[in-house]
């Protein structure tokens, strides 16, 4: 599994070298390649599009100022994303949205079941732990409904509603296509943590999609 944003290592090295000597083409190429992913990641931490764009600007300045020291020990995309995350976190904590509220959320929401316990049969049932209210089969649903504009709005809303730690993992993994190992690397979290946060996040987004489709 490789990410769609991954460049071949030689291309990447050439870009880095060209950027170091001030090649504007190399810069434009990098901006084109990474800006949308950077914006996506920045939005994970800050509350508005305008601030996210500012974060991306600041991050690029960080990239330019640091490129002379980039030694290629990590992938370029990992290194760039770390810069974005640092800048975005700093901005995010200046905003009211973060801190106390989301800190409380993190503790409450990172554990707990993936599916509401009420959907399963209880211990007194002959089939305890099996579906009481089974999920619907979406196979027969028209693509037009599944992939509608409103559906994507719902998915984005669900993402926005996730606790920050879950949101950062699922954004990198499922939205941007990073591998599990890359996510651990970018966020400096353990394998186990990554798995738990990803699963919790996916489960919540699935539930939101289900609620929307069954309205």
């Amino acid at each position: 599994m490789t990410s769609s944003t991954a460049a071949r290592p030689t291309d990447e090295l050439e870009l880095v070298l060209a950027l170091r000597v001030g090649d504007e083409n190399a810069f434009t190429k990098l901006v084109h390649q990474y800006q949308s992913a950077m914006l996506q990641v920045a939005l994970t931490y800050v509350g508005s599009r305008a601030i996210a764009e500012e974060v991306v600007q600041e991050a690029w300045l960080g990239v330019l100022n640091g490129i002379g020291r980039f030694e290629g020990r990590s992938q370029l995309k990992t290194w760039i994303m770390r810069i974005v995350i640092n800048r975005a976190k700093r901005r995010g904590s200046e905003e009211a949205r973060t801190l106390s509220f989301s800190e409380m959320q993190v503790r409450r929401d990172d554990s707990g079941p993936s599916v509401e316990p009420g959907r399963f049969r209880g211990p007194a049932d002959p089939w305890p732990g099996h579906w009481w209210s089974p999920p619907a089969n979406w196979a027969g649903m028209p693509e037009a409904r599944l992939l509608s504009r409103e559906m994507f709005d719902q998915v984005r809303l669900a993402l926005d509603g996730l606790p920050e730690r879950q949101r950062e993992v699922i954004t990198l993994r499922d939205v941007l296509g990073y591998t599990g190992a890359e996510v651990c690397n970018v966020l400096a979290i353990s394998d186990t943590n990554e798995r738990v946060l990803l699963h919790r996040a996916r489960s919540r987004v699935r539930a939101a999609v289900e609620r929307y489709l069954e309205q």
Binding site: R20, V21, G22, E24, F27, T28, V31, Q35, S36, A37, L39, Q40, L43, E53, V56, Q57, W60, L61, L64, N65, I67, G68, P113, S114, V115, P117, F120, P128, G129, H130, W131, P134, P135, A136, N137, W138, A139, L146, L147, M151, F152, V155, R156, L159, I170, D174, V175, G177, G180, R195, L198, H199, R202, S203, V205, R206, V209, E210
Partner: protein, 94 residues
């Protein structure tokens, strides 16, 4: 297969247990013994089959979420930032 695995095989996986293991299943990081129980459950449970499809669809939707580009104004600012950086000596700054 160890004895421990055999004992696990005896206990059928419940739907409630399965939904907790799904991401590991999809990422193929589930332990072999768990995977056997998972597959065994799946063969006879249409509810869980539908659930897995829902999760796959959810992941597919997430992969299609793309943030558009930064604004044209922001792009112009970026280029200006780059030119200033370059004028100040690009990589010679240390």
């Amino acid at each position: 297969m160890t004895r421990n695995d055999m004992r696990h095989m005896d206990t059928e996986m419940t739907c409630q247990e399965l939904v907790e293991l799904l991401s590991e299943y999809l990422d193929e990081t589930l332990a072999a013994s768990e995977r056997l129980r998972f597959d065994a459950h799946l063969r006879t449970c249409s509810g869980c089959e539908a659930y897995i499809e829902q999760m796959r669809m959810t992941i597919r939707l997430l992969g299609k979420l793309t943030e558009e580009s930064i604004s044209a104004e922001a792009q112009r600012e970026l280029l200006a930032t780059f030119r200033t950086w370059k004028a100040n000596g690009a990589d010679h700054r240390g």
